[in-house]
């Protein structure tokens, strides 16, 4: 996750409280999505950004995990094309791994 976005996540968590913030990812592949999930839960694994050593432990989901709560017509219009070409299972599994580490 780039430096600017780490800062924005941190500011959001500080402003509204960790319990009121949820991170939603749209990553194209499992590894990058996992890195982003790790960054907002246990801290920046690359030790480069403002979330280094900061355990925000925010709930984090990939948009693919939220299909149940999104109207079908909106899903079809916005997501279904990429759902067909990306490795949904691998992405979801990777993001869930980090969420489960913080008990989510």
């Amino acid at each position: 996750m780039d430096m600017e976005n780490q800062t924005r996540v941190l500011e959001l968590a500080e402003k509204y409280g960790k319990d009121n913030v949820v991170v939603i990812l749209g990553g194209a592949e499992a590894e990058a999505s996992g890195l982003a999930a790790e960054t907002v839960t246990t801290g920046d694994p690359t030790f480069a950004g403002p979330l280094t050593g900061v355990q925000l432990e925010l709930p984090v989901y990939h948009i693919f995990e939220l299909k149940d709560i999104i109207p079908e017509d909106v899903w079809d219009e916005q997501i279904s094309m990429m759902e067909m070409v990306l490795d949904v299972d691998a992405i979801v599994k990777e993001v869930a791994t980090y969420r489960e580490r913080i008990g989510g």
């Binding site: 600017e4 996540v9 959001l12 709560i69």
Partner: protein, 43 residues
């Protein structure tokens, strides 16, 4: 089922995956409050 009602969401989209605006559109009916929305580019 995930409940986003009243939650501030940080949207980290991906240009090669699902971009931020598409995720925003999806969340409109969930009661989530958009904290910020962005689209990263890994290229």
């Amino acid at each position: 089922m995930v409940n986003l009602e009243g939650k501030y969401v940080a949207i980290i989209g991906d240009r090669d995956g699902i971009p931020g605006p598409a995720i925003e559109e999806c969340l409109k009916h969930t009661g989530a409050i958009i904290g910020f929305s962005t689209t990263e580019c890994f290229v």
